[in-house]
């Protein structure tokens, strides 16, 4: 043993474990635990004052030793340069000056002798004790941190280390304990466990940790230790020592570091956020505010303080300001944007209008409260083709739109609309069969052409490629003449092409409005918008019938006036330009005239002759069939004049049946307007008719009309009777003028004048004379309105009577007399007179 002594100092001896093994079996590799570390955790102390521990070191060289470590309770002066000699059972000795030594791991158990020498070289103490293998603990070496990387923008630390797995058998469970500390005082922040499996390879592990405090605020430290559950080892297992600490220094450690952190971050509503203000040496923070509120300061170091905002509310459009006010007229600030992650897009719908672009629309849902660069970004991914487009949306619009190109030979599209903002992301999906989602572009360039009066060719263009589907188009046909109609037509689709259709059964010379919209015929989805309206007028056709005609002999009987009525629009089929009037006598034309519009009558000098008159209406397309009437007027006698009945909206006329009138009846009347000669009008009735209500827009209430009823025979027309009447009777315009013819003491004789037909406004039925005592005084109420009990009324219904004597009056008394005329329409306004009766000459002798 003394051979290890060198100058009175213990030397350190290592013996490889392998040397011992060679004696057993050279071909076998070292035992599994040979690459591991061991520690005696339970030793029978060779001295009560000393503990001896052992560890196996350095796995890399695959040698195993037991490390003895002395923890001495001796005073240091005794321990100064102690010399120690360890000898195991094989008499292998290890000399050390330290309080530790490594010896090989024993096979099962071994006895160790430890001798301590004093400085002078004499033996100080010697002890023997036994080590059992099961008493040796397995303690891995402390792991080594490869890197600790900060990401300041996300306040994230990334730790990397190797598991040295190649030194261990395959499949061992390893646990790693990582501790994060912060501030100069190294306060614990978190301790986390990370589990892995050793696969007999050196694997580099990575662990991320997001700090609730920006990394700039103060220094952050990380250390790691490990535990390996080595199943082949009998003894207890324990955690390794901690690795050396790695540090991410805070801004407060930089000589000129300052600022407010974090800057321009975006967080979700309800988040807790820590802000810190790092300043230069010598400055003092006066206050820190978030929004409008000051927050209590949390001191991190002499150059850094923080505030903690809990449950942050949504910020306004420009973000919430955090301000750090310092002494020395200095200020720092930051803006925090608090909002929501994007909502799941609502009502995603995709369709195509042209088979070039698929247009997808959706509503964004709840507002995120974030705008511009922080606003929600949308992307549309089609998972069958794997294509992806990003969407430019207008934040201001309620409905968002994104276009996706139609792909060749693809009909089914599986869309995923992704929405993302700095807080989060969502998506909505939609499976679309494009042929079932066609909403064609609006038809345009609608034109019409045609060379017929009853049909038209419509032509339009649709800007889209519909070659693979059929289109169903709806044509709306409007005209002033008939109800709006819709015409549906199905046609094969084309590639950016024109479409034509012929419309039949139209009316000639009619202004039509056409418009078109289209949809997919086989799978209806939506109609396109209506095209613009096209106005088109069909060509003219000859008038369908001749005009309704009448004729009248002049009073002299030498000429004949022929009247015709205008054709209705549907009969005229165009613009009537003239009427041809001719007069025939037994196939011989006596007279021919072309009368230009707008005349509706003409005169033929006929002398005393008669003829058959023919009238033809002409437009640009041709002539109507002729209308004919004979000029012959059959003699009639004993023509009576009847009264017609006013119907309010027309005039009722009736007549007896005349069996020999074989071709019906004609009622003729005349409208007079002012001084102009009256204009003739007429109406025809079949032979079985015996009454009619004559209506005309020209009839006015209170105007008397005279009608003539003619019967029609094959030989000519015969006047049957005259009828006079009103559409509506009105009260007379005024009362007749009346005068007092004579007065006596008890009577007054009044006379009145005839009234004109115009003043009567109806058939005059009688007069009403009212009288009562009364004086001429404008202030007193009028006689007729007063309800005077003395009022007396005389009703004169005999229209031939033009005077009346009022009797039984008082003498020398003033009377008021009111005269009114009346018709079925009512009473006229009164004419009033005041009369004073003469003085009574007689004595008042009562009779009887």
């Amino acid at each position: 043993l003394t051979s290890f002594l060198e100058d009175g100092v213990c030397s350190y001896l290592k013996l490889p474990f392998g040397e011992q093994k060679k004696n057993v079996d050279e071909s076998k590799p070292p035992l599994p635990f040979s690459a591991s570390y061991f520690m005696f955790n339970k030793l029978s102390a060779w001295s009560r004052d000393r503990k001896v521990q052992s560890k196996l070191l350095t796995p890399a060289d695959r040698s195993s030793r037991v490390l003895f470590q002395f923890i001495s309770s001796y005073q240091p002066k005794y321990l100064l340069n102690p010399l120690c000699l360890f000898c195991d059972v094989l008499s292998r000795c290890f000399k050390t000056k330290e309080e530790r030594v490594e010896i090989p791991v024993p096979e099962s158990s071994t006895t160790v002798k430890i001798t301590t020498y004093s400085i002078s070289g004499t033996t100080f103490a010697t002890r023997h004790f036994e080590i059992h293998k099961k008493d040796i603990s397995f303690v891995p070496l402390a792991p080594h941190i490869l890197s600790l990387t900060p990401d300041f923008s996300t306040s994230t630390l990334t730790l990397k280390w190797s598991d040295n797995g190649s030194a261990f058998p395959y499949g061992l469970d390893a646990s790693w304990e990582i501790e994060v500390l912060r501030k100069e005082t190294m306060e614990d922040v978190t301790r986390e466990t990370y589990n892995s499996k050793l696969i007999h390879e050196d694997i580099i592990h990575s662990w991320n940790w997001k700090s609730d405090m920006p990394l700039e605020c103060t220094s952050h430290y990380v250390k790691i230790r490990r535990y390996i559950n080595i199943t082949q080892f009998d003894g207890p297992k324990d955690w390794s020592d901690w690795s050396p600490v790695e540090v991410v220094p805070g801004k407060d450690t930089e000589p000129n570091g300052s600022g407010l952190f974090p800057q321009d971050t975006v967080v979700a509503v309800g988040s807790n956020v820590t802000f810190c203000c790092v300043h230069k040496e010598g400055q003092q923070i006066q206050r820190m505010s978030y929004g409008a509120k000051d927050y209590p300061l949390i001191r991190l170091s002499s150059r850094s303080s923080a505030i903690r905002v809990l449950n942050a509310n949504a910020s306004s459009a420009s973000g919430t300001n955090i301000v750090c006010t310092m002494s020395e007229d200095w200020m720092d600030g930051a803006v925090l944007f608090v909002g929501y992650g994007p909502d799941v897009p609502k009502g995603l719908s995709c369709e195509t209008s042209n088979f070039v672009i698929i247009k997808c629309t959706w509503k964004p849902g709840r507002a995120t409260g974030l705008y511009k660069v922080r606003g929600t970004k949308y992307s549309l991914t089609e998972s069958i083709s794997g294509k992806n487009v990003s969407c430019e949306v207008n934040e201001m619009k309620k409905k968002h739109v994104c276009g996706f190109p139609v792909l060749a030979d693809q009909k089914t599209y599986s869309f995923i609309l992704g929405a993302s903002n700095p807080i989060g992301q969502t998506e909505a999906s939609l499976l679309v069969d494009l042929n079932q989602r066609v909403n064609p572009e609006t038809p345009e360039k609608l034109t019409a052409s045609g060379n017929s009066s009853t049909s038209v060719h419509l032509r339009w263009f649709i800007n889209g490629s519909f070659a693979e589907i059929r289109l169903l188009c709806e044509i709306e046909i409007s005209s002033g003449r008939s109800e709006q109609k819709v015409h549906n037509v199905s046609m094969p689709g084309g590639k950016f092409s024109n479409y034509t259709v012929q419309l039949n059964a139209l009316h000639p010379y009619t202004k039509y409005q056409f418009r078109v919209r289209c949809s997919a015929a086989d799978h209806f989805w939506r109609w396109s918008d209506w095209s613009g309206t096209l106005e088109y007028t069909t060509l003219e056709a000859p008038p369908t019938r001749g005009p309704d005609i009448w004729r009248e002999r002049s009073p002299s009987g030498k000429s004949l006036r022929i009247f015709w009525k205008p054709l209705s629009l549907s009969e005229a089929n165009g613009k009537i330009v003239s009427h041809e009037v001719s007069c025939y006598l037994l196939e011989e034309s006596l007279e021919y005239k072309e009368v230009m519009e707008p005349s509706n009558s003409t005169e033929i000098k006929l002398g005393r002759n008669d003829c058959v008159i023919s009238v033809v209406a002409k437009n640009h397309a041709g002539s109507s069939p002729p209308s004919r009437i004979t000029s012959v007027e059959l003699p009639s006698d004993n023509v009576k004049t009847d009264r017609a009945v006013a119907m309010g909206n027309g005039i009722y006329i009736s007549w007896n049946s005349f069996p020999n009138m074989t071709c019906g009846y004609i009622v003729k009347w005349c409208h007079s307007s002012g001084s102009e000669p009256c204009s003739v009008d007429w109406q025809k009735f079949p032979s079985n008719t015996t009454d009619a209500v004559i209506k005309s827009a020209l009839f006015r209430p209170g105007v008397r009309y005279n009608f003539s009823l003619y019967g029609c025979k094959s030989s000519g027309y015969q006047l049957l009777k005259n009828v006079t009447g009103y559409m509506k009777e009105l009260p007379p315009k005024r009362a007749p003028n009346f005068t007092v013819e004579e007065t006596s003491s008890d009577s007054i004789l009044v006379k009145w004048e005839d009234m004109s037909i115009e003043d009567c406004q109806g058939f005059l039925e009688g007069y009403r004379l009212s009288f009562a005592k009364g004086e001429k005084d404008a202030l007193k109420p009028r006689l007729l309105e007063s309800g005077n009990p003395e009022l007396k009324v005389k009703n004169i219904t005999d229209l031939t009577k033009k005077s009346l004597k009022i009797l039984d009056l008082q003498g020398k008394t003033s009377y008021q007399l009111d005269l009114q005329a009346y018709t079925a329409g009512g009473l006229s306004p009164p004419n009033s007179l005041y009369v004073v009766t003469k003085e009574d000459c007689k004595l008042n002798i009562p009779i009887n």
């Binding site: 407010l260 800057q263 321009d264 505010s289 929004g291 409008a292 910020s315 306004s316 459009a317 420009s318 973000g319 919430t320 300001n321 955090i322 301000v323 007229d329 200095w330 200020m331 720092d332 600030g333 930051a334 803006v335 705008y371 511009k372 201001m396």
Partner: protein, 218 residues
């Protein structure tokens, strides 16, 4: 009756785009042209009060707090400062003062136009747009006064000023601070310009101008 004045000014401003560069001032005469510029300045002062209120509210506290008085950070110097010693300012010639006004508003206008794109709300963007056109009118109006007084326009930004190559603010807070200082400087400039034009108005009464025009006629 201040409403009446503003109504008149508004009506006057509506016609501004129709009078590019106010070439008509030659015929108006310097006195009237100064009066118009003065009126416009007062109108802008009023308009800015409303705009600044809305804009500072948009920036949020503490920018909209009445006693907010931040230290002028070095960055803010890129906005032309109106903080000049009053005696020094008064000591300048009319020409120099007008030129300084012209230059300042040309630059301020650039920055103001820069605000437009960033602002989140539509209404505020609209208001800013309106104020910018008014301020553009003032720049042109000052040019008109200078030409009517026979002063050359200062070299540099003439007509539509080109944006200076100042770097954008590195973060949102400093951007807000820039905006704050822009509005504050604008306020000070307008306040002082009103005084400048008032003084100039007294110096160049309309009668003198009439005489000058008559003299030209000979």
């Amino acid at each position: 009756d201040s409403w009446g004045i503003f109504a008149f000014l508004c009506a006057a401003l509506c016609n501004l785009p129709a009078v590019p560069a106010l070439n008509g001032t030659e015929e108006l005469g310097a006195g009237q042209s100064i009066q118009k510029t003065y009126d416009l300045t007062r109108y802008l002062e009023h308009q800015l009060r409303t705009l600044a209120g809305t804009y500072l509210n948009y920036l949020g506290p503490p920018f909209n707090e009445p006693d907010f008085n931040p230290p002028r950070l070095a960055r803010a110097e890129r906005v032309p400062s109106a903080t000049v010693d009053l005696d020094l300012w008064r000591g300048l010639t009319d020409n120099a003062r007008l030129a300084a006004n012209y230059r300042a508003y040309s630059r301020l206008l650039c920055y103001l136009r820069g605000l437009d794109g960033q602002v989140g709300t539509v209404e505020l963007r609209h208001r800013l747009g309106h104020f910018c056109s008014s301020l553009q009118g003032l720049v042109l109006s000052i040019a008109g006064v200078m030409s009517s007084l026979g002063y050359p326009l200062p070299a540099g930004p003439a007509g539509p000023p080109t944006p200076p190559g100042a770097p954008a603010a590195p973060n949102n807070f400093l951007k807000k601070m820039d905006d704050f200082w822009l509005l504050k400087e604008l306020q000070t400039w307008l306040w002082r310009s009103a005084k400048d034009f008032n003084r100039l108005k007294k110096k160049v009464p309309p009668a003198v101008v009439t005489l000058r025009i008559e003299a030209r006629g000979f």
